[in-house]
């Protein structure tokens, strides 16, 4: 019996191989690239985290809110004359165009998030439906938006657009950081800090925290719960729209009907890693996941390993520390 089992064992590195020298060689470039991806994950993760904090709902359709933003970026920029080649515009014109695309993407995503909340979730909240019903609705809504895009644009990705030529800015440990990476990381971090300030300082932010902590008491204290919920969805949409611009900048060929799906899972994994419901956790989790995913991809030798690594991280976090690194604390009291 035993000899016949031998063929079951993996032979000649058929299953998984580790390429450590390649990781050591590309460590710093992987780090900066990972941080860039991480910034994008973090922006999308905020949408999950905020909605989860307030409604205790995984908004599966958030990945579609994000991909709608990607399409908005694509259509705006191709309408403005951007194409696969580097645009012949001066720097200020490019910045203006990108800002326009950013605003339109944020609006498109926010409107999608708003409609989603009104059409799909509000009727359920009204009749106090069980959680399972919410989740099934969320995945159904995600699916519906995805296939509306599919029927409209077909299965293949859109034409890759080049926004600007990434120029080397400075050199760290022999690795060049280019303008693209710098723009994405800095812009994302500024937005993160802004959102963090908004949640902790503004009146609306206090409302969001109050509803997250205890919806009923918050309502009794005069917080308009419905308005807070809509605001939360809209903020999540705005950030997803911003992430969409950076995503298209980083992965020009990623505008595809199913493009949001995997990114959504990674962003959610990032939110859980940092502590779901925690705004700073989303930033930390996003950056960490970007790094881990990128290292894993180089170590294992195929870009698709990024997704697998992110998933394994998610499962490990749930196994070892389900409350995430910083803990779940949008309402500050939620343990």
């Amino acid at each position: 019996m035993l000899p016949s089992l031998v063929p079951l064992l993996p032979t000649e590195n058929d299953w998984i191989t580790f390429d450590v020298p390649s990781l050591a060689e590309n460590f710093w470039s992987a780090t900066f690239d990972g941080l860039t991806f991480g910034a994008i994950y973090a922006l999308v993760a905020l949408g999950y985290t905020l909605v989860y904090g307030v409604l205790n709902l995984i908004n599966f359709a958030h990945s579609e809110v994000f991909i709608v933003g990607c399409y908005a970026v694509f259509f705006t920029l191709s309408g403005l004359g951007f194409g696969p080649s580097v645009p012949r515009l001066d720097i200020w014109a490019i910045i203006l165009n990108l800002l326009l695309a950013l605003v339109l993407a944020m609006v498109a995503s926010a409107v999608t998030a708003f409609l989603l909340e009104r059409i799909a979730y509000k009727p359920l909240r009204k009749r106090n439906a069980p959680r399972l019903v919410f989740l099934i609705t969320a995945i159904g809504a995600s699916f519906t938006i995805q296939y509306l895009i599919y029927l409209w644009r077909g299965p293949s990705p859109e034409l890759a657009l080049t926004m600007f030529r990434p120029t080397p800015i400075f050199d760290v440990f022999g690795t060049i950081i280019d303008s693209q990476q710098l723009v994405i990381i800095i812009a994302a971090v500024i937005m993160m800090v802004g959102i963090d300030r908004f949640i902790s300082k503004s009146r609306t932010g206090r409302g969001i925290r109050a509803v997250a902590q205890d919806p009923d008491t918050a309502t009794l204290m005069g917080v308009n719960k419905e308005r807070i919920i809509i605001t939360t969805f809209v903020i999540g949409g705005l950030l997803a729209g911003a992430a969409a611009l950076f995503y298209v900048m980083k992965i020009p060929s990623g505008v595809q009907y199913s493009g949001g799906f995997v990114l959504g899972i990674k962003a959610f994994a990032a939110a859980v890693l940092g502590g779901i419901g925690n705004v700073r956790g989303a930033l930390l989790g996003g950056l960490l996941l970007g790094l881990i995913g990128n290292y894993g991809q180089i170590l294992l030798g195929n870009s698709q390993w990024t997704d697998v690594v992110a998933f394994v991280v998610l499962v490990l976090v749930l196994l070892l520390r389900p409350e995430g690194i910083l803990g779940t604390s949008l309402g500050r009291s939620k343990a």
Binding site: N13, L132, A141, F311
Partner: protein
């Protein structure tokens, strides 16, 4: 039993729903007015069914099963999917979906856990069957039929691996983890050399037996034997799952579904039973995957995208989560509609996506709602309770106590 059943059919109607009792009794007396008849309450068919005697139920079931077996041979004119799709193969596909729906129903319907990556278990089952029978695989080869239990065991193992970290937590984590797992399996099949990506495994094995002229009975092009095999498995699995449903395990699942905290406080080891539900569901998914691999005869990474998982979920939700007959019906429908109406096949994902949202908003119990009460006690207890209910005054317009307390329970669960 039959003595008490016979003369009082209207009294066996669900005791809690006095309004329906009135409807039923007026029908029995032949005084059914149109208005009453027009509005069929959610439990209508189920009440009619339980009003039948045991013998009548069995006779009816036997007829249904025989008709189901004969379906591909009769090839009924309006129902048939031809031209366009071979009807016997369509029948197999319906049976495959029905089996998947029965398995997913254990997870989603009974235990109330949302499994969005069910296709992953299906894929694992397919790969087990393919890698152990196909000549393209360098590993150990075993007879095809042995891969069925093996596929179940392997997928069950995967189910436990995935369930243990996630099921300690609230249900929503399971949803996202399974969603991720569904995608990961497909990616792994692509990037791990041993799983042969798009090239895949050809000539996957099939059950033994040849026709008189030497061609195998279970060929890829002939759906009939595969359909019969799958139908037989569905019947066995449904009976087993039905027994589980009525056992301690099933009661624990339903308690968990209705209110996990309350179940835990009442002493139900919720984690254990959740893992069981997840593992059993996974095993059934693996079984159907192995059947699918055998019938198609070819497995590669292109067949297992996450969107298929959502179709499976739509099947369960459409049929009625928590009702195994509903799951079979829903599974068959989700497979049948695109095959029969090929004009809309292109839009099937959109249609079922919208259907999911609409069903959840307007009729979250699906086509055949689950019977939530009296499940555990069997027929004797049902009669006892309903006979007692029949003696109570029924002509009040107030909703009866049962519905009331149930509604209160639901409110309590969400608060």
């Amino acid at each position: 039993m039959s003595m008490t059943d016979g003369p009082t059919p209207m009294q066996t109607a669900a005791a809690e729903q006095a309004a329906e009792d009135r409807e039923a009794s007026s029908k029995a007396a032949g005084r059914s007015d149109l208005r009453e008849r027009g509005k069929r309450k959610p439990g209508y068919f189920s009440d009619r069914w339980h009003a039948l005697s045991r013998q009548q139920q069995w006779a009816f079931l036997v007829i249904v099963v025989v008709l189901a077996y004969l379906l591909p041979l009769i090839n009924p004119p309006i129902i048939t999917t031809e031209p366009g799709n071979n009807f016997a193969l369509a029948c197999f596909d319906m049976a495959r979906f029905a089996l998947i729906a029965v398995g997913l129903n254990v997870v989603v319907g009974y235990a109330g856990l949302l499994d969005l990556g069910y296709v992953a278990f299906f894929a694992v089952g397919s790969y087990v069957a393919a890698m152990l029978t196909s000549p393209d695989s360098p590993y150990l080869h075993i007879p095809y039929l042995w891969t069925l239990p093996l596929a179940m065991a392997v997928t069950m193992f995967f189910g436990v691996m995935l369930g243990v970290p996630t099921l300690r937590l609230r249900g929503d984590y399971l949803a996202i983890v399974t969603l991720g797992f569904g995608e990961i399996i497909r990616i792994l099949a692509t990037i791990i050399p041993a799983m042969k990506g798009q090239v895949g495994f050809q000539n996957v094995g099939h059950p033994p037996g040849t026709e008189a002229d030497g061609t195998p009975i279970f060929s890829n092009s002939n759906g009939v034997p595969w359909y019969w095999l799958t139908l037989t498995i569905i019947i066995i699995v449904t009976l087993l799952v039905g027994n589980l449903e009525r056992s301690r395990v099933g009661r624990a699942w339903i308690a968990i579904r209705e209110d996990e905290d309350a179940a835990e406080i009442m002493g139900v080891p919720t984690f254990k039973y959740k893992v069981w539900a997840f593992a059993i569901g996974a095993a059934i998914g693996g079984l159907s995957g192995a059947l699918f691999a055998g019938q198609v005869g070819f497995v590669n990474n292109q067949k297992f995208d996450v969107t298929t998982s959502i179709l499976f979920l739509a099947a369960v939700v459409l049929g009625g989560a928590g009702n195994k007959v509903g799951a079979i019906l829903g599974g068959a429908l989700v497979s049948y509609i695109p095959l029969r109406f090929t004009a809309i096949a292109e839009y099937k994902y959109l249609i079922f996506g919208i259907a999911l949202v609409l069903i959840m908003i307007f009729r979250s119990q699906g086509l055949l709602p689950a019977r939530q009460r009296l499940l555990a006690y069997g027929r004797t207890a049902l009669n006892k309770v309903t006979n007692r209910a029949a003696m109570e005054p029924k002509d009040t317009d107030k909703p009866p106590a049962g519905t009331d307390s149930r509604a209160a329970g639901e409110r309590g669960a969400e608060a």
